[in-house]
């Protein structure tokens, strides 16, 4: 199914967020996630389903003012 990851369409086999993050290669790193504009906590990733057309945001720490 197609998921929009950080603004770009990706074809993914995973149907849950935690699996999708592994498939995308994020592994164990420190990131924040949101699906369709709603925050998804680390603890909820394993049970959060993904559906065709969902928008996933994966954010990491950066410099800020």
């Amino acid at each position: 199914m197609k998921i929009m990851v950080n603004g770009a369409w990706r074809e993914l086999g995973a149907v849950r967020l935690a699996e999708a993050l592994v498939e995308l290669g994020y592994g164990e790193r420190v990131i924040g996630t949101a699906v369709n504009g709603e925050f998804v906590a680390v603890a909820a990733r394993a049970t959060t389903p993904l559906a065709d057309g969902d928008r996933l945001e994966v954010l990491a720490p950066v410099q800020g003012g």
Binding site: N6, G7, L24, G25, Y26, R29, V30, I31, G32, T33, A34, G37, E38, F39, A41, V42, E57, V58, L59, A60, P61, V62, Q63, G64, G65
Partner: protein, 257 residues
Amino acid sequence: MLELYQTALRSRLLLGTARYPSPAVLSAAVRAAGAEVVTVALRREAAGERAGQGFWSLIRELGVRVLPNTAGCHSVKEAVTTAHMAREVFGTPWLKLEVIGEDDTLQPDVFGLVEAARILCAEGFQVFPYTTEDLVVAERLLAAGCRVLMPWGAPIGSGRGLNNRFALRALRAHFPAVPLIIDAGLGVPSHAAEALELGFDAVLINTAVAQARDPVAMAGAFARAVEAGWQARAAGPMEARELAAPSTPVIGTAFRG
């Protein structure tokens, strides 16, 4: 001591971490500033990139508190979602809340700001709202649950100093017990000293240090200016007057009478 949400701090200089020439210069600048609080942010990162983890390790090694921001958010929803991610990633309830209303000036959308502040304070966030010098907005932010306010000096990155001294003085006078931090728009250490002399509790500096020819030296200069401004405020500055008043005694002046 400066107290922000029950956290006592010695330094009254908060530092942004963006736009430095290198991570090494950023680290050296934070140390030279003596900063105990630095601002950080969240941005999209592709799986192949590792910059975020490196940056986060660098900040943790500095042993400072982090103040995550919601920079770039233009709506209440974006700011609230970003806040939730920041609380989890950075492990702190502190949040520099920014809801931007206009791109040329990066002026806060104060209506969205108050709404987002109400939501986030109710959820246990300790909100540092980036706001204008408007008194009524400040009242609303306090009513929403904010216990610290961060009025702008001038637009972000403009280096113009305190653009509206009259309103900033009024803000200070109206809220004598609320920690007020001048955030944004300061360009040189004398601007920071002036903010402290006017009675503001602290300043948050980023571009003025990061974009200086020598950011580490400039960080040190800002630290000394903030300290000087604070000590001057505590020492009780004289009143300005319209006419000269001789400082040398007049009685006993030679050649008179």
